[in-house]
Symmetry: C2
Subunit: 245 residues, 2 copies
DNA sequence: CGGTGTGTTGAAAGGTGTCAATGCTAGTGG
DNA sequence: CCACTAGCATTGACACCTTTCAACACACCG
C-alpha cells in the first residue's frame, strides 16, 4: 500500500507530506493497469469523458483539430501525467487526447476523483494544482509560439522535455528517447514540417543537439538555455501553496 | 446576503445550485471593494502572491515578459474573472497581471479560498473549474496563434470577447467598448502592431467590423464566425461535471 | 505649445510556407 | 531473400505573409 514506486504517490509526495490515510485513498483511486496501442484516441473533444488515466509509460498528446484539417498539439503527456483529469470538473472533454507510442496506464475511476473533493481536501487541492500546472505549461508554449523564433521555440521545447523526462527518470544524462515525428513537432510549434526539419538541422549544425530520429541528445544544455531563454522555473513541482500542506 | 447581483454568486450560480450555506461562504470570501488605477501591476511573476481579486469592472491582462522585452499577453481578464486565483494552489505567481483600464475589484482573502477546500467541497470544485476554464481558453488562443492566419485569429479574438462580455452584460447588441491598444493586441495575437493595424483595416474593408479606436462593432457576426472558424463551445459556463452538483 | 503615445501608411527585407522531388527505413507479402 | 509499399526525413527553388524600418498624422496632456 505504500509502494514508493507508485507513480501517483510519487507525484503527490512532491507536493505535500502524505498521511497514511491519503496514501490509501490514492492507491484505491488506481484501478488496474492497462496497455493501450500507439495512435489510439483516448479522449474525444466535446464528448463526455469516459476514462481518466495516469501514465506509467509511453507518450500521448492533447490536440485540437480545425475544420480544414489543420491541427495544433497542445501538450505532450508523459509518465506521471494525468489524461482526462478534467473529468473531475468538466462534463465534456475540451480537447482530444491520442496516444503517440504504446501506453501503459493506470485507469482511474472518475467518481473517485470527485469523492476526493468531499473527503480529502488536501488531495483535492493537489488535483487542482495539477490542473493549474497544465495551464502554466500551456502559457509557456503560447509565449513560445507567439513571440519566439522557430529556432528558439524548438530548442525551448527540447529543453522542457529534457527537464520533464528527467523528473520521471526517463533520461540518460542529457539525452532521451524522442518518438515524435517532425510532422507532429510542426503541429506543436506552429510551424511546417519542412521548416522544423531545417530548424533541427540548424540546431545540429550549431552543435546544440544530436538527433538520429529516435533519440535526442542535448549536446550543450547551458548554451541552448541561453539561446532559447529557457527558464525552468515554470516546471517546478514543489511549489504548492503552503496553505494546503 | 443573497444579493443576486453579486458577481461571485452569479458566476458560481451558473455552475451549481448554491445552498444557503455556500452563498454565505462566498459572500464572506469577499472582503471589500477597491478601485485600482489603470496600468498597475497587480501580480508579479515569480513573486509570492499577495492578493486575490474578483473583477467587478474594467479590464486587466495576464502576460509574460521575455528577457529582451518581447511580451506575450496570455489572457484578458473581464468582469467576473479572478485575478491571482492560483494563490489557492501555487506559492508563487506563474505570470504577471496588469490592469488595462481603471479596475473595480472585490478583494478576496487568500486564506479563505484555502478554507474552501476543507469546508465546502463543491465550492472547491468550482474553483478548480475556474482554473481549468482558464486553461481551456489558453488552449484555444494557442491553436489560434499556432494554426490560424492573422485575419482569422484577430476575428476570432474579437468574437470571443463579444461572447464573454455578453455573458456579463457589457455589450450592446454586437458592439462593446474595446480599451486595447493595437500594440497590446499584437502582443496577444503574436503579431506586430503594424500588421495588426493592416488586419483590422482588412476586417473593416470586408464589412466584418467597425472600430473607431474605442468601440468594436461586429457588423456581420455569422459571416465572421464562418471565416474564423469560431465555435463558442469552449466558452460555455454551464458544463461543470454533474458529480459536483 | 511641445511632448508622448497611438494609429496609419509605404517600401523593402526576411522568415516561413508551399510545392515538388528524392532518399531512407521498416514492414509486408511473394 | 527480394520486390514493393508506405511513411517519414531531407533538400531546393520560389512565393508570400509578416516583419522591419521609417515617416507622418492625430489626440491627449502637462
Amino acid at each position: 500500500m505504500n509502494d514508493p514506486s507508485n507513480p501517483l504517490l510519487k507525484k503527490f509526495s512532491l507536493l505535500l507530506e502524505l498521511t497514511d490515510e491519503e496514501r490509501a485513498v490514492l492507491m484505491a483511486l488506481q484501478d488496474r493497469c492497462e496497455i493501450i496501442p500507439a495512435d489510439t484516441e483516448l479522449v474525444h473533444i466535446n464528448e463526455e469523458y469516459s476514462n481518466t488515466f495516469l501514465i506509467q509509460n509511453g507518450w500521448a498528446y492533447g490536440y485540437v483539430l480545425l475544420a480544414d484539417g489543420r491541427q495544433q498539439i497542445l501538450s505532450f503527456l508523459l509518465r506521471g501525467d494525468f489524461i482526462g483529469l478534467y473529468t473531475a470538473v468538466f462534463k465534456r472533454a475540451e480537447y482530444s487526447v491520442r496516444t503517440l507510442t504504446e501506453l501503459t496506464v493506470y485507469t482511474i475511476v472518475p467518481e473517485r476523483i470527485i469523492e476526493l473533493f468531499s473527503n480529502t481536501p488536501r488531495l483535492a487541492a493537489a488535483v487542482c494544482w495539477s490542473v493549474a500546472r497544465e495551464s502554466v505549461i500551456l502559457a509557456e508554449h503560447m509565449t513560445g509560439i507567439g513571440r519566439r523564433t522557430a529556432y528558439e521555440r524548438t530548442g525551448h521545447l527540447l529543453l522542457e522535455l529534457l527537464q520533464r523526462l528527467e523528473a520521471v527518470d526517463l533520461t540518460e544524462s542529457t539525452s532521451y528517447e524522442f518518438p515524435v515525428t517532425q510532422h507532429l513537432l510542426a503541429d506543436t510549434l506552429g510551424l511546417t514540417p519542412v521548416h522544423i526539419n531545417r530548424t533541427l538541422r540548424a540546431l545540429k549544425k550549431d552543435g546544440m543537439i544530436s538527433y538520429d530520429g529516435k533519440r535526442i541528445i542535448i549536446e550543450n544544455p547551458s548554451r541552448l538555455r541561453e539561446l532559447t531563454g529557457f527558464d525552468p522555473t515554470y516546471l517546478a513541482q514543489t511549489d504548492m501553496s503552503e496553505g494546503n500542506e
